[in-house]
């Protein structure tokens, strides 16, 4: 049973350069207790997907033009702002990229966690504060009683991100959206936060949408993956299928870009790989595949027709789908 199902979601932004289609027929599905990784470069629509689900697309200029977002069969795309308000924080929680700036500097972290509980459960301040302490404990903060009375600037980045997670999970949401939760943190702290997310997902059965450009984290944590490019999903499927047998040149490029750690430095180092070019401007997308200008395997059809997501043949459960005209599997040449 899917907790969250996004179908053919289209989001347009009115810009001075014309209409920008920031999300173009996005379809996602996530079950209870699953982790879905959304990967892609900056500006490909990952965060916009998150904001759409939260009902926080800045409008104007943004607008959900078509499609549906269903939370437990309940349509939430186009729900009233009051309805969305009761869903946000209560049924869908969100963690932001910058734990440094996502906490309100003038209130203690305990007050901020309690705020969410008070808003949704009408708890009195004593009960809400008790819950805050409980949540701090759950996210692995030592001395939660004392930490609850600390101000954000007194905590380290990793601790602050734990607090953000505690705020997002305080009301036990069904879905947690983590928008690049570790980008601003040190590598060792990143690992701790990922471990924490995995642990919480196991204990609470929260479905997690993990937005990241860390392919390593996706490989380790996620059950499913969606690769986005220029507002579209170009490849999706079970993580193992997609990473071991990537079909889209962009997915292969992203995998190839992950630097390899060489324990013994040799004279000959592998050069770091990159995908040439940049994400095209969304107002200047032509007829064909948006990735074609950067693709090393482009042929004439790619310039004329937009490829559609199609099931990759000979995979186990038919969940592996890719939008590319060049579908011959040649994973070995990556």
């Amino acid at each position: 049973m899917a907790v969250l199902r996004v179908q053919d979601l289209v989001v347009d932004f009115a810009t001075r350069q014309g209409n920008a289609r920031v999300l173009d027929h996005i379809s996602l599905e996530i079950d209870e207790g699953e982790i879905l990784g959304i990967v892609g470069e900056s500006g490909c629509g990952k965060s916009m997907t998150a904001l759409s689900i939260m009902g926080l697309v800045p409008s104007p200029p943004g607008n959900i033009t078509a499609g549906s977002i269903k939370l437990d069969e309940r349509e939430i795309a186009g729900a009233s702002s009051e309805q969305m308000r009761t869903i946000r924080g209560n049924e869908i929680g969100m963690i932001f990229q910058e734990p440094m700036s996502s906490l309100n500097p003038v209130f203690t972290v305990g007050e901020q966690i309690a705020e969410s509980v008070r808003l949704h459960e009408g708890a009195d301040s004593r009960a809400a504060f008790a819950r805050a302490v409980e949540m701090l404990q759950a996210v692995g903060i030592p001395e939660p009683e004392k930490r609850a009375r600390a101000y954000p600037h007194e905590l380290s980045g990793g601790m602050r991100q734990r607090v953000m997670i505690a705020i997002a999970l305080a009301c036990n949401p069904r879905v947690l959206i983590a928008d690049e939760p570790t980008t601003a943190l040190d590598t060792t702290v990143q690992a701790q936060i990922f471990d924490l997310l995995e642990e919480l997902q196991k204990n609470r059965g929260t479905a997690i949408v993990l937005i990241t450009h860390d392919m390593g984290a996706v490989a380790q944590l996620a059950d499913k993956i969606a690769v986005m490019y220029a507002g579209r999903i170009v490849e999706t499927g079970a993580v193992d299928d997609v990473l071991s047998n990537p079909r889209h040149p962009y997915t292969r490029g992203l995998i190839a870009c992950v630097p390899h750690l060489q324990v013994k430095p040799t004279k000959q180092r592998h050069p770091l790989l990159e995908i040439p070019g940049v994400v095209p401007s969304l107002t200047e997308l032509g007829e064909g595949c948006a990735f074609s200008p950067r693709c090393d395997r482009m042929h004439s059809k790619c310039l004329q027709h937009q490829p559609v997501l199609e099931t990759v043949p000979d995979t186990g459960d038919n969940s592996h789908r890719v939008a590319c005209w060049v579908t011959e599997a040649r994973a070995d040449d990556v």
Partner: protein
């Protein structure tokens, strides 16, 4: 978890106000200003019961210079009323008008600025046009008209000063709200389901407060000067003794009896100086760049 996280230890969480005080108390000028205000405040509050002379009562010959008679140590005004008594009790009205006017200024300013800066769009357009309308009116003239239209009572004077001086505060509040509403913790607040009202008053306002407190403090000084200015022009409540009233009454005798105007003038000067020094000190105290020195 394999690697233990070393928490950043601090002996005790420090409230932002406590941090501000830590900087404030290192500024001698600010402390001097605070001392001035405390002395003036205490004298205004308990002074009249210690030196119980009616400031409207005629006690000696008119225009007696200071130190001539123990009955009126600082001399008498043009009616023979005790100047010292006036100075002591006159602070009440002056401070009251100053504080009330500043409160009105800041309340209107924050209200208009908050909605303008938060909602933007047409709300901002409407509120800013109103603000500009009030901004282009010459403040002293506008206040004089208001006071003349109604009676020159303390309430009307405080209201008039508040009404003519809120636009600057509104613009400051608006700028702060526009800056803060784009910050991530506001989005974070929205993402846990906070309403607009909550975001405005509970999330953004506390963070916008520092510059507004500084501006409010300085507004008190401006309001006191304003009140004195109106009094000088004869627009003050004749039934309530205030420093402004004393100056207004004595202005014809300024060449023959300097004390009648100068002594209340010095009081106003000291009060405004105290308010300004405290305002500057608060400005430093709320400046995050200076806070952690």
């Amino acid at each position: 978890m394999t690697i233990a996280e070393t928490p950043h230890m601090e002996p005790r969480p420090e409230h932002p106000a406590a941090q501000a005080w830590r900087v404030f108390r290192t500024r001698p000028a600010a402390l001097f200003g605070l001392l001035l205000l405390v002395v003036i405040g205490v004298v205004s509050i308990i002074g009249p019961s210690v030196y119980a002379v009616d400031p409207f009562e005629i006690v000696w010959a008119p225009l007696t210079a200071p130190f001539q008679t123990p009955t009126a140590p600082l001399g008498t005004d043009y009616l023979g009323r005790d100047i010292l008594a006036g100075l002591i009790i006159g602070g009440r009205a002056t401070l009251l008008v100053g504080l009330t006017a500043a409160l009105i200024t800041v309340s209107i300013g924050i209200f208009i600025g908050a909605f303008s800066g938060y909602y933007q769009g047409w709300v901002d357009d409407v509120f800013m046009r109103i603000t500009e309308f009030f901004q282009v009116l010459p403040p002293l003239l506008f206040a004089m008209v208001l006071v003349t239209l109604f009676s020159p009572s303390l309430v009307v004077i405080a209201l008039s000063i508040g009404i003519v001086s809120w636009p600057a505060t509104a613009r400051l509040a608006r700028a702060e709200f526009m800056r803060i509403r784009g910050l991530e913790y506001v989005s974070a607040g929205r993402s846990i389901g906070a309403r607009n009202g909550r975001l405005i008053w509970r999330v953004i306002l506390p963070n916008a407060l520092a510059p507004l407190i500084v501006s409010a403090t300085l507004t008190i000084g401006i309001a006191i000067l304003f009140e004195a200015g109106l009094s000088f022009l004869g627009l003050s409540d004749p039934n309530v003794m205030s420093w402004g009233l004393m100056i207004g009454g004595g202005r014809q005798y300024i060449l023959d009896a300097w004390w009648v105007v100068t002594l209340p003038g010095v009081m106003i000067f000291m009060t405004v100086l105290g308010v300004s020094l405290v305002g500057d000190g608060l400005n430093d105290a709320f400046n995050p760049k200076l806070r952690d020195r």
